[in-house]
Symmetry: C2
Subunit: 985 residues, 2 copies
Amino acid sequence: MLTMQDALARLTAYWTDQGALVVQPMNTEVGAGTLNPATFLRVLGPEPWKVVYVEPSVRPDDSRYGENPNRLQTHTQLQVILKPDPGNPQELYLGSLTAIGIDVAAHDVRFVEDNWASPALGAWGLGWEVWLDGLEITQFTYFQQAGGLNLDPVSVEITYGIERIIMALQDKTHFKEIEYSKGVSYGEVFGQSEYEMSRYYLDDADIEANRKLLDIYAGEAQRMIDAGLPVPAHTFVLKCSQAFNVLDSRGAVSTAERAAEFARMRRLAGEVAGLWVTRRTELGLPLGTVPPLDAARPPATTQTSEDARTLIFEIGTEELPPGELRSARTQLLRLVTEGLAGTRLTHGEIRVFGTPRRLIAVVPAVGAREDDHVRLVRGPKAQQAYAPDGTPTKALEGFVRGQGITVTDVTSVELNGVQHVVFEKQEEGRAAPAVLADVLAQVVSGLRAAKNMRWNDPKLSFSRPIRWLTALWGDDVVPVTVSTLAAGRETRLLRTAATPVIAVESAETFIETLGVNGIVPDHEDRRELIVVGAQDLVYPDGKIDVNGEAALIDQITDLVEQPLPLLGTFDEAYLELPDAVLTTVMRKHQRYLPVRDADGALLPMFVTVANGPVDVELVRTGNEAVLRARYEDAAFFYRADREVPLALLKARLSRLTFTDKLGSMADRADRIAALAQLFASQLGLSSATLDRAAALVKFDLGSQLVTEMTSLAGVMARDYALNAGEDRPVAQAVYEAELPRNTGDALPRSVAGALLSVADRLDVITGLAATVGLPTGSSDPFAVRRAVLGLLAVHRATPALASLDLVDGLAQAAAAQPVPVSPAVLEACADFLAKRLEQALTEEGKPIDRVRAVLAHANRPSTVDVLLAQLDSLAADPGFVAVAAAIQRARRIVPAGTAGSYDPSTLKEPAELALHAAVNAVPDFSDISSFVEATRGLVEPLNTFFDEVFVMADDPALRAARLGLLAKVRDLGEGLVDWTHLRLQ
Amino acid sequence: MLTMQDALARLTAYWTDQGALVVQPMNTEVGAGTLNPATFLRVLGPEPWKVVYVEPSVRPDDSRYGENPNRLQTHTQLQVILKPDPGNPQELYLGSLTAIGIDVAAHDVRFVEDNWASPALGAWGLGWEVWLDGLEITQFTYFQQAGGLNLDPVSVEITYGIERIIMALQDKTHFKEIEYSKGVSYGEVFGQSEYEMSRYYLDDADIEANRKLLDIYAGEAQRMIDAGLPVPAHTFVLKCSQAFNVLDSRGAVSTAERAAEFARMRRLAGEVAGLWVTRRTELGLPLGTVPPLDAARPPATTQTSEDARTLIFEIGTEELPPGELRSARTQLLRLVTEGLAGTRLTHGEIRVFGTPRRLIAVVPAVGAREDDHVRLVRGPKAQQAYAPDGTPTKALEGFVRGQGITVTDVTSVELNGVQHVVFEKQEEGRAAPAVLADVLAQVVSGLRAAKNMRWNDPKLSFSRPIRWLTALWGDDVVPVTVSTLAAGRETRLLRTAATPVIAVESAETFIETLGVNGIVPDHEDRRELIVVGAQDLVYPDGKIDVNGEAALIDQITDLVEQPLPLLGTFDEAYLELPDAVLTTVMRKHQRYLPVRDADGALLPMFVTVANGPVDVELVRTGNEAVLRARYEDAAFFYRADREVPLALLKARLSRLTFTDKLGSMADRADRIAALAQLFASQLGLSSATLDRAAALVKFDLGSQLVTEMTSLAGVMARDYALNAGEDRPVAQAVYEAELPRNTGDALPRSVAGALLSVADRLDVITGLAATVGLPTGSSDPFAVRRAVLGLLAVHRATPALASLDLVDGLAQAAAAQPVPVSPAVLEACADFLAKRLEQALTEEGKPIDRVRAVLAHANRPSTVDVLLAQLDSLAADPGFVAVAAAIQRARRIVPAGTAGSYDPSTLKEPAELALHAAVNAVPDFSDISSFVEATRGLVEPLNTFFDEVFVMADDPALRAARLGLLAKVRDLGEGLVDWTHLRLQ
């Protein structure tokens, strides 16, 4: 059996054989190998760097006293940095797995999207988690920024999680059982340390001492920056980070403190990075610089056909994220379509395909060359071309000389009414390959992702690296070159294929060639294979909810090139876990399809989809082990949690800081409870259910499972509450208090739940607005925007809350905050609420004019809904339109500030007297429907009035009375609808 | 070329092949691999442990900005722990050198005594520095204690200094030039860090911040100890250590603070160690326990000779320190002599030999067996043996039954005047091998060193491990067994010999066998080879000062088994360095013999003595490189120092703390200067030379060279002063201020030097007595005892200071201290001075009675010398003896408190009148010579008085007068000599 220490030695040897340096772990605690200066500093600047090292990585937060089988406060990373990107880092990486005895063809090794970012380091990169049969074993990242600086060249970072890899290789279920060296287990060597350091991090570290350490370290870091010494400065930044992590694991860091400390560390790390680059430059870049890659030379090609042939163009990439793949297919279609439209090549219907590793455009019947073409070249005006005697002028002579023709070649035509000398130039159509090469080059450089990265190519940028181009027109290579890439006739198959690179005969056989070799380029084909395969696997015991899991299936479809659905099972005992726990793990963590019986109950099985012809048994076993470990984790917490009385779970909330200024989560839960009960009493909605639910609200945040899987907040509350014998409505209300968790999520169905949900959100909004401010731009660290959207959604969906005024609610929530909330802040909150409502409604497709017309009711969003619905149905009502138009006309005519009162005796004309009578006969109305009814009698008199009465009479008294009458019209519906905004048909 | 990273990988692989675990370096800064818990904690308790790891070791004090070719603030250790001692760790170690391509037979690899101790860890062990051609490349230690706990089993610690080894292997003269990995130099990778961390440690670390860190760390360590968590506690002890080292390198640690911090760390480390052992025991010793070694079985032997044969006994050891080897030879002779004396074996003259690896006893003509022997066995008293009728009693019957004889076998003899029944038992002499086996076993267990250690043997203890026994009597193995060792006929040659173990034919050929194989067992033979060889090598250019270097030559002689003197040279340019610098390095650091020309001037060459048939060129080159590096170091400092004005060097003293309560070294120098000038003015010895020397005194402590080689303090002061243009007498006085540096050292010859020396020592004594107290027991961390001995020596040797009263001097020095010095402390100092003087004088051979008789003059030690000399020459003077005896007699007769006055008119007897006249005629005297002259006239009257006068007359008046007269005699010489102590011949 390969021991852990042998594995470390072999990996190190593998990478040194690839030319890497070996350095030692950092001699101060770090949370990851990335923090070691051999990564953080060395990825900066233009010097090359290739290194491998072990890094015992300390994560105080992961302390579990050594009891959890998979979680350690210190785990072992093996870290590799390749700077520059060698062009084939994934292949090199797979070689390293082979070096430790992993048969990468038999296992399912996958590169699953992962966008890495470290806010504290001002660093980010794009890449993947590498999965071995569903187990995350490596982080693979193209570093784009560090310390806030753009990295050029880009570095490849490969971080192996050694304990996980070894547990998988040695088939162990607890890290302590790992054979660390021959005959000595991991637990025997590190077990005691794991326990004791957990004790320190979780229970015994002195908070005040660590706070002082944090400040001293930050002070030294700053002093060293000021002294121009990035190396010691960086060391102290790392010490800051560790001290912070200790405080965090002791539960001593509030949200706001976290943000402040991250900002401080980011600033320090940024200054360190800048200094490092400066110092290296001053030192003359001791390790030299990375030479730029040469631009590609187009392949020499000859055109072998004069008939129309198929064009295929394949853009080979490293594994694209599913979302980016979807978008890229669309872009590809557009770019190829536009590109071909700009040529004079004939062609058939353009089709595009895509897998994680390739984007393909297929265009049948692309003409061999563009048609020949006559182009009219304009010369001088005829008048200036010939002397009065008809002899050519110097102007004409110059023109013909420039065109390489003679005077006899030109004719004269009228252009824009003026006679010009022109030359009809015969242009030959260019050959297809040449034309296509230009078009396709533009396609490649035109691709853009939502999040783009750079790799070793000096000019390209995309979601993931583009590594090869295959371009064929019929039998001929299309000589596309883009930056360092030149197209050829080779395509790549699965990396584990016997022949990973093969030549393609012709464009016509390309898709077939892929297919023969197992690659399924079409998304729909792959999806079909997955759905059918999965249903087959689970038949007849169960089935996959294809509609319900549609998004997941689409995602899985775009994670593979050659789908191979596999059935796995898990111990029935885990079915004791709540459905949400089981499926969250399957879907979110593992991308497994849950299997249900005819009644919709979960079965102890799952379908995973491997990529390519793996060893099915091996991969199944591996995936089952991963799921088991995850479920074991969850079950461990679940069982422990259920044994804790709810009151005790709730009591733990006082140890969780919400923000430093807004108190603990316990304080927050108390505020929510009080506020919900206040609203209930105002609305006559008080109940014993609400009182009990209010007493419990948020208690599950004190549970271990929710600490681990925060998305289960509320769900677990319901489960634990029922388990503890609470009434079902109470349990439901505590669950619903968390709803909606995101846009489109379920909403509370019970009044008690809705009241708690509303109170929760009002508390968040007012508290944070008063302390850190409302979100601006795209930054919203505390998710205030989401809280507002949830608040609006709940109000709109809960009839019982229709009369609840949210602006009043804000004021009541504000009054309960432990900090003062100024009227200006409250006003800003109300305004923010209205803006979000406007946005939500317009996104739902409501016309902006109508939305704005009723937005004054934003304090009661359900009222807005009612009014909008009425507007919808009445917008075409002629009576409404007439009255509304009259009101708008009146608004235009009547000077601002004119009151809606007048002396009726001054009025004389019948039309004005009729209007006077009608206006004063308008009965009360409360909404738009009743408004329409109420004003139906006004339509006729208004029409007559505007037809017959000249408002601006010379007689001032008369004019005043008429204006007063119109002002009264103007004021109709005031407060109900803002007529200014309303656009009338 | 083997790169540094390859060397680390190969060493790691070598030790893992030997079954070692690999762990990672400590993730907090440590000064050495020993501090890593994989050493410090794992050597404790009964569990086995075998580990190898790299440890970047941080020594802030060694920071040199990366400029010094051999000194780094972070150097790389490779650390190996073997627990238990595998029995052949040296051989395993040599195998590891082979693994990195070192031909251990061609190079001179030596194990040179090194006793390791870490006061801060409460740890110590015995072992060696391993030298490769004179270069220290490894520390090799048998750990005896850690955290104040005895270690059982003992661990072997092997610590490789990687940079040094690689520099030697790669033939580099600066660490930055090391090829770290293929094509990448050490400097390119670590140069910047070396510079910047040096800046932090030497210049930029914030002292207050690091003081706070130290206290916080100590606090957390204590808290974790209290919580019963040794692992985090240990981490914080390490952090304490680093913070302390940072403060130290910033010059912020006073002597007293150092002692206090060491005490704190030692206490914490001790508690950590104790806790660790407790916890491991509670955990059931997860790694098991080390099985004890079996006791040896004696070899089956037959005796093949009945003639007397030679006995040889060889005790094979690992390399003994020269001092212990000397002592062991003496012990061996004594133990064998005593052992044989306890047998009845005949034998010739016993001779003993020894090399670092063997102790040998040779005894010619040892009889084949003991002579037969008659032993008288005593039975019952005759009276009780026979009944009155002559028949045997039960008592007699019991006796004969017990002896297996009959009544007829007994006779009767008188014993102690009583007739007893006896039996003359014929005892056969035992065979030599059996007798010798017992004797030799006692010899082995009887060996003791000044400092003893344990290894893997459960019962033995010695200076270094005993690994084999060779015992032959003639052709036969003497079946000696001691604990786990059994003697055989095999002996071991050099470890690098083609056949390292050979069988010995017979005792008679043993020494020859060794000789044939190159081993020179006799110290004198080896010494001769070295002296003759060395003189040959340097002839005719120079010579070795064999007498002057006698101690060094003796030491070298006992460092080798097969001496091979080699001549090395060094660059003449280094001769610019002071003689003392060059020779200190050669003698003390390298054990090289300096070579001088006919005038005694150093030549640029040296003789080193290799062990065994090495590759001469290789070893010479290696040694030359080592010396060059050391001289380069020294020259670097020397040149730098000489460019600094003396005033600036002196100014640096304010940055050196003497002790926290006694101020800086600058304060101390000021006090010394003022005190010396005060004495000078009191004694009329003031001079411009003194004034200038006083202004400069101790300035060289501010130089880099003295910081490096503290033993050169004073020597460098003279050199730098002359270089700076000071007058020679001034330079000499500044030098002499430091004299004597130890017992037997030179003393000041100039008055100015003596005054400064005395002032220096008075300052030390009073200051430390008042703050930390005078030394008690063997502990004297501040060397106050040495200061006192120096003070006495200077006073005694300097006639000009004869009238200087040291007790007054103490008071004057005390008055200048920044702390109050109480009268009680001053009294204790004076007492301490007197005691040391008494001790010094008796050690010089002065009779204790005379010393005590004049010790009242200890405040002027030179007076004591004068008086003692006079006592020496006058002790036999009959006049003196008579007077002295009379005085002592008078002291006995006269009651205490009797005054020496009387009424002369009361006296009547001629004898008493004569004495009265004589006593009153005694002239003044100032010393013992004049006392003898002055009292010569008393001899006769005293004799007569004691013969004829009965003092205790009945008449009270008469008796009072006589007692008064005698009291006057008694008081003669009072204050000059304390007659009580004086023993008269």
